[in-house]
């Protein structure tokens, strides 16, 4: 669906990106390419789809440059042109940008407008932090952002020119029913199967179908959010023969809770998983907010991050420290494996052909235990960690009853700091124990030097983070440098 019109496409190249479709096929050039890797936001568009209930809409910003076209099946695509399609007047997000001088060269502007639009539709009184979060995936090189933040605050004050759903701010969606009805009309409930030359794209509807397809196509690539696979295509020019898209599998993105675990479906996006995790592990707030950007979190899945298994993936340290496990499914059945045992080597994990991660089981916190995670990177938002370290600490009588430390950025996989843990377990929670832990930490890792940080820095800061942990638990360090002076 685009601007109220149903768009039917035949003979679609499965890895054609939404951006290519817009710019090259439709000549809709408002959406720009800045990087073709989901890191600059110039291509930001919005997707509307029926929510879980089927009676409401969920709207999210995504990066068109790495979103494959077939994943839009049954959804509404909203681009910068959609906001003022009839030329009746600028959308409040657009008008605010004009009034506050939020554009200079203007190339990033359509992307900012779409992120602002998504914010406009999802929140009413955003704080500065909310605004920064909403804009974390959009780079502007001209303005320095001050006028864009001003526009974000001001857009709610601008009266919408008509009663189009697009123009109504969050909370006053009187016309949402029409929109829902429109989307209902394009739901077909069937599994999708596309062929393009020798290449194929499947979008199964049930877990069983998914397992069956993977069994039949052992060399298939599982596509979830595509925030990594998109780059295989745009940057490495790889031809992906068989893609199996998991975004339409019913129940696969469900998040549920038992007495002991949070069960996160393999296809749950970060945006959906975050609030559920934070409910139990509030200290992860900063690190989760700093995970990529909203357009990426809206597409990327926790399961994908875990399965991808990058040594610098930011979800695994906390999951591993918390003692999470993965439920691995195939046509032959399922098995559960501790995340500790899942990674074998650089980009080598325990998944066999035909297997996929059905869900992630995150234990709920026990009494007296805390889970903290620290991320170090050159930039606060939308950066990849040089070091990401998570600590699950259980203190009893001021002694370390148990400590699990998992680190990213220090080895070929996310890995536990076994020597360090051992050096501190059972010891009194003191500066001396921390010093011993720091010394042992150096035996756990032999990091590499690359563009993100040197080996020396990774190790040194990794050790120092233990001190941060200690000072925080002691109440001697209550502020992070990131939030200092930035409350409210």
């Amino acid at each position: 669906m685009l601007d109220g019109e149903i768009v039917e496409l035949a003979n679609v190249d499965p890895t054609r990106t939404v951006l290519q479709f817009l710019r090259e096929d439709l000549g809709r050039t408002g959406t720009k390419e800045g990087c073709a890797e989901g890191d600059c936001g110039a291509c930001t568009v919005a997707l509307a789809e029926l929510d879980g209930s089927g009676n409401g809409l969920s709207l999210k910003a995504v990066n068109a440059c790495i979103q494959f076209l077939p994943t839009l099946d049954g959804k509404e695509l909203i681009t910068v042109e959609s906001l003022d399609r009839h030329g009746t007047g600028l959308h409040p997000a657009q008008q605010a940008m004009v009034e506050h001088h939020g554009s200079q060269c203007g190339f990033c502007t359509p992307g900012f407008v779409m992120s602002l639009f998504a914010l406009y539709k999802s929140q009413r009184d955003p704080t500065r932090r909310d605004i920064d979060d909403a804009l974390a995936g959009n780079l502007c090189r001209c303005t320095g952002y001050r006028p864009i933040v001003a526009a974000a605050n001001a857009m709610y004050e601008i009266p919408a020119a008509d009663d189009d759903w697009l123009r109504q701010p969050h909370g006053s969606d009187q016309t949402v029913a029409d929109r829902v009805e429109r989307l209902r009309r394009i739901q077909h409930g069937n599994s999708l199967e596309l062929h393009h030359g020798s290449r194929a794209f499947f979008a199964p509807r049930t877990i069983g179908e998914l397992a069956g397809l993977l069994d039949a196509h052992l060399d298939a690539t599982i596509l979830a959010g595509g925030t990594d696979i998109g780059l295989w295509v745009t940057k490495q020019h790889r031809e992906l023969e068989t893609l199996i898209y998991v975004g339409e599998v019913e129940g696969f993105a469900d998040i549920s809770e038992s007495d002991t675990h949070l069960e996160i479906g393999g296809a749950a996006t970060f945006s959906d998983a975050m609030p559920a995790i934070l409910e139990h592990y509030p200290l992860l707030d900063e690190v989760l907010r700093r995970f990529a950007s909203p357009p990426i979190r809206n597409a990327a899945t926790l399961g994908g991050n875990v399965a991808n298994g990058s040594p610098i993936g930011d979800s695994m340290p906390a999951l591993m420290a918390a003692g999470a496990s993965v439920v691995i499914r195939s046509a032959g059945g399922s098995r559960e494996l501790a995340l500790d045992d899942f990674y074998h080597d650089y980009q080598v994990n325990d998944l066999r052909p035909g297997e996929f991660i059905e869900r992630i089981r995150l234990p709920l916190p026990g009494p007296g235990a805390s889970l903290r995670c620290y991320k170090l990177s050159k930039r606060f938002d939308q950066d990849i960690s040089s070091v990401c370290a998570a600590y699950h600490l259980e203190l009893e009588d001021d002694c370390v009853k148990s400590i699990r430390i998992a680190c990213g950025g220090l080895a070929a996989t996310v890995k536990r700091a076994a020597h360090c843990e051992q050096a501190m377990t059972g010891r009194p929670w003191t500066e001396d124990t921390i010093a011993e832990g720091m010394a042992a930490f150096a035996r756990d890792f032999e990091p590499i030097t690359d563009m993100r940080a040197s080996a020396a820095y990774r190790l040194r800061s990794g050790k120092n983070l233990l001190r941060r942990l200690y000072l925080e638990t002691r109440g001697e360090l209550t502020e992070s440098v990131y939030l200092y002076g930035r409350h409210g």
């Binding site: 110039a42 600028l90 001088h101 939020g102 060269c105 203007g106 990033c108 990131y482």
Partner: protein, 768 residues
């Protein structure tokens, strides 16, 4: 002329009109080069690049490239009908490599195919045999090996060595300053459309259409008359599209020349960052002698910059470093040596500030060191060394600083930012906070305005008034987001007494305004504003003369305002007068030409008056640093900046704010990192980190200096604002240094950029 000048009413000029394209930007209707409708014969071009930093090319086999799906043709050096050169000043840079490659990413050939993807895939299929040669990958090695793109230059005043030797105190230090990628959001792009009879029409994202025109003509063996270059707008440039755009345009044009078809070359982001030049990184040594009050007695600088493989703009960039290593300070005895190092890395180029930032960074570092050595507030040492008024006011290159407002700005800012109070509060905070430390610094900016090459300080404009009274405006400047087009339109609007909406602002076009300089050196509005004013004034004067004759009044009784023309006691619409003038066969089209006055400068002695005037500003930044990890954040920024009498305060504010944040990126999170093979590893936003919204200080107070008319006769007494604010961000760096300095480590050896790693290194250097 003067009579007219007195009558022109400042209506549009001085008002904060939105950017002329703002409504188009926000709606996606502003067309950038890649958004233009594509000719039906269009081919897409991709570049085959060197994978070695330095190697002899044994053989280039493009059979597989030609055989790839969709491929129509390839172009190599041997296919170039004209000169294989895209060096803008020195002809030392090839479009396509011939016998050797000199950096990883150097263009060896280009391929044209039916789609972008086909071209890019095919470009990877060439079989190239290299014989590797020794590569020089950093400035220090280049100096060791005597590898330079241009001769070393020296500028001396007084006797620095003697003054340093006799001074009561002395300090020496080596500092490294990282480079910076321009990271315009729109990557390099050029589309060439063949015209009849060998003509070429280029749509190029360029700050310098004239240079594109000439270099394309030269490479394709045509005359300049056969090539037209057009640029309506760029999606950012920042100096990165000054000389670099010509390479891209030449490749597209060569492919058009070979195939006879329209060709478009749009660089992928990674290719853009690998293939095109950046801000020079520097190694600087200084040796400074000073007295107990902190006043500098003598200073010796040795600058070594990474120029990459060719001269490009490195000559003038490094000259500007030499002109700006005084920043705001009188250096009585100074010796400056400037090495322009040849390295096997991409040829570095213009970037906002153009060498000035590195020179200013160096002197500010020295000043900070002096203050920390003497244990006094660095602001006091800065003031002690400021240029004087009527004394101590001549720069090391012999130009008198006649418009000095340094003290005034520092006073204003010190008060408005509550610098002293906050500095004391920070000291108190740091005494009790073990991990988080705060720091504060005030740094000034004095920046010389004009191209240092005097001949470049010329501009042209073309104004038509049509029979219905609407106006067509062209000038030699290009729009990259800075608001040049709206500013010049404001000038023209007031000249003709019409609103800006009457004026159609047109693309920069070499067939409309010839021989234009690059839109660079912050001089866009100064020069094009004046040129357009002169063009519009010619028409106004003709209309005045006609109206006086037609209505039998004195010329002094004719006036233009608000789309009306008063003629004695009567008045008529501007459009009506224009219609009458046309009937009377009055020319309604005029060109304007401007050359910056007063400047004269002898490059051979580095002396004279290279700059028409100086722009000033100052900033106070406060930061917080985590001393366990080196992570740092800006907490508050206060800026007072001098734009003269601003043509458009909203546009100027945008330049100040944006320039500051860009400068802060340069000095904190933006790090260029090469591996040992000389491959740039930070070539995309995933690895190269420019500031985001959350990096903007939560408190950001920017004031444009009021009642600050330029003492020189610039357009409406305004001042250039493109580059100077970038250097305000040096305050961020010194605030970080302030935060991490301790009694045990009073002079932290902090390198730029101050990434968490660099900061932690500086902290722990004292207690390893």
């Amino acid at each position: 002329m003067d009579a007219t000048a007195n009558k022109v009413r400042k209506t549009a000029v001085g008002s904060s009109l939105p950017h002329d394209s703002a409504h188009l930007h926000v709606s996606g209707r502003a067309a950038y080069t890649d958004d233009l409708p594509e000719p039906r014969d269009l081919l897409h071009v991709a570049v085959g690049m060197s994978s070695k930093a330095h190697a002899r090319l044994r053989s280039i086999n493009v059979d597989d490239v030609l055989a790839a799906e969709g491929v129509v043709d390839v172009c190599l050096a041997a296919d170039i009908p004209g000169e294989n050169n895209c060096g803008p000043i020195v002809h030392d840079e090839k479009i396509f490599a011939t016998d050797t490659v000199e950096y990883t990413g150097q263009a060896i050939f280009a391929v044209a195919a039916r789609t972008v993807e086909q071209a890019r895939k095919a470009a990877e299929l060439a079989k190239i045999e290299y014989e590797e040669l020794e590569a020089i990958l950093d400035p220090a090695t280049a100096i060791e090996k005597g590898s330079f793109v241009l001769p070393t230059e020296t500028l001396t005043r007084g006797d620095a060595a003697a003054a340093i030797g006799e001074a009561p105190r002395r300090l020496r230090r080596r500092i490294t300053i990282g480079g910076q990628d321009q990271f315009y959001l729109e990557g390099h792009i050029s589309m060439c459309v063949p015209q009849e009879d060998n003509g070429l029409l280029l749509y190029s994202s360029t700050q310098h259409p004239d240079e594109v025109q000439h270099l394309v003509a030269n490479a394709t063996n045509r005359a300049a008359k056969d090539v037209v270059c057009v640029c309506r707008r760029m999606g950012g440039a920042f100096g990165g599209k000054e000389s670099q755009a010509a390479t891209i345009a030449c490749i597209a044009a060569l492919m058009t020349a070979k195939t006879g078809r329209s060709c478009k070359l749009r660089l992928d982001r990674d290719v853009d960052m690998i293939m095109t030049g950046k801000r020079h990184d520097f190694v600087v040594d200084y040796d400074v002698g000073f007295d107990e009050t902190g006043r500098i007695r003598g200073i010796d600088f040795t600058f070594a910059s990474r120029c990459g493989v060719s001269a490009d703009l490195s000559g003038p960039v490094n000259d500007r470093t030499m002109f700006h290593c005084d920043n705001a300070y009188f250096l009585e005895n100074v010796n400056i040596e400037s090495h322009r190092c040849k390295t096997n890395t991409v040829s570095n180029t213009a970037f906002r500030g153009f060498g000035g930032p590195q020179g200013m960074f160096a002197i500010e570092y020295a000043i900070d060191d002096i203050a920390r050595t003497l244990d006094v507030d660095p602001l006091e040492v800065r003031r002690r060394n400021f240029y004087g008024i009527g004394e101590r006011d001549v720069t090391q290159y012999g130009q008198a600083v006649e418009d000095n407002i340094l003290d005034m700005i520092a006073d204003k800012l010190e008060a408005s930012a509550e610098y002293r109070k906050r500095r004391a509060a920070i000291r108190e905070f740091n005494a009790s906070s073990t991990v988080l430390k705060r720091g504060i610094a005030l740094t000034p900016v004095k920046f010389g305005i004009s191209f240092t090459a005097t001949h470049l300080n010329q501009a042209g404009a073309l104004v038509h008034v049509y029979k219905d009274g609407s106006v067509h405006l062209n000038h030699g400047g290009t729009e990259m987001g800075q608001g040049l087009f709206i500013k010049v339109a404001q000038v023209v609007a007031d000249e003709l007494g019409v609103p800006v909406s009457t004026i159609r602002i047109n693309a920069a076009d070499t067939s409309k305004v010839p021989n234009a300089s690059a839109t660079a050196a912050s001089s866009g509005s100064d020069m094009n504003g004046k040129a357009a004013q002169l063009a519009a004034r010619k028409i106004r004067n003709r209309l005045t003369e006609f109206a006086a004759r037609h209505f039998s009044v004195k010329e002094s009784a004719v006036d233009f305002e608000d789309s009306r023309v008063s003629v004695g006691s009567d008045s008529l619409d501007f459009a009506e007068l224009v219609q009458l003038a046309w009937l009377d066969r009055v020319s309604l089209s005029a060109t304007g030409f401007y050359k910056t006055p007063k400047i004269n400068y002898d490059r051979s002695t580095f002396s004279g008056r290279p700059f028409f005037y100086f722009a000033y500003g100052a900033a106070v930044s406060e930061v917080v640093v985590d001393t366990l990890t080196g992570e740092n954040r800006i907490l508050r920024v206060d800026i007072v900046h001098d734009c003269g009498d601003s043509l458009n305060p909203a546009m100027d504010l945008g330049q100040v704010e944006g320039g500051f944040v860009q400068g802060a990126g340069w000095l904190t999170s933006e790090e260029l990192w090469w591996n040992d093979a000389g491959e740039l590893q930070t070539h995309a936003p995933s690895t190269y980190k420019i500031p985001t919204s959350s990096d903007l200080a939560p408190e950001f107070n920017v004031t444009l200096l009021e009642n600050a008319a330029n003492r020189e006769d610039t357009i409406y007494r305004s001042k250039a604002v493109g580059e100077p604010p970038l250097m305000l961000a040096i305050s961020v760096f010194h605030a970080i240094r302030d935060a991490i300095a301790t009694d045990g480590n009073p002079l932290p050896a902090l390198d730029a950029p101050a990434t968490p790693e660099a900061v932690l290194r500086a902290i722990e250097a004292a207690n390893p």
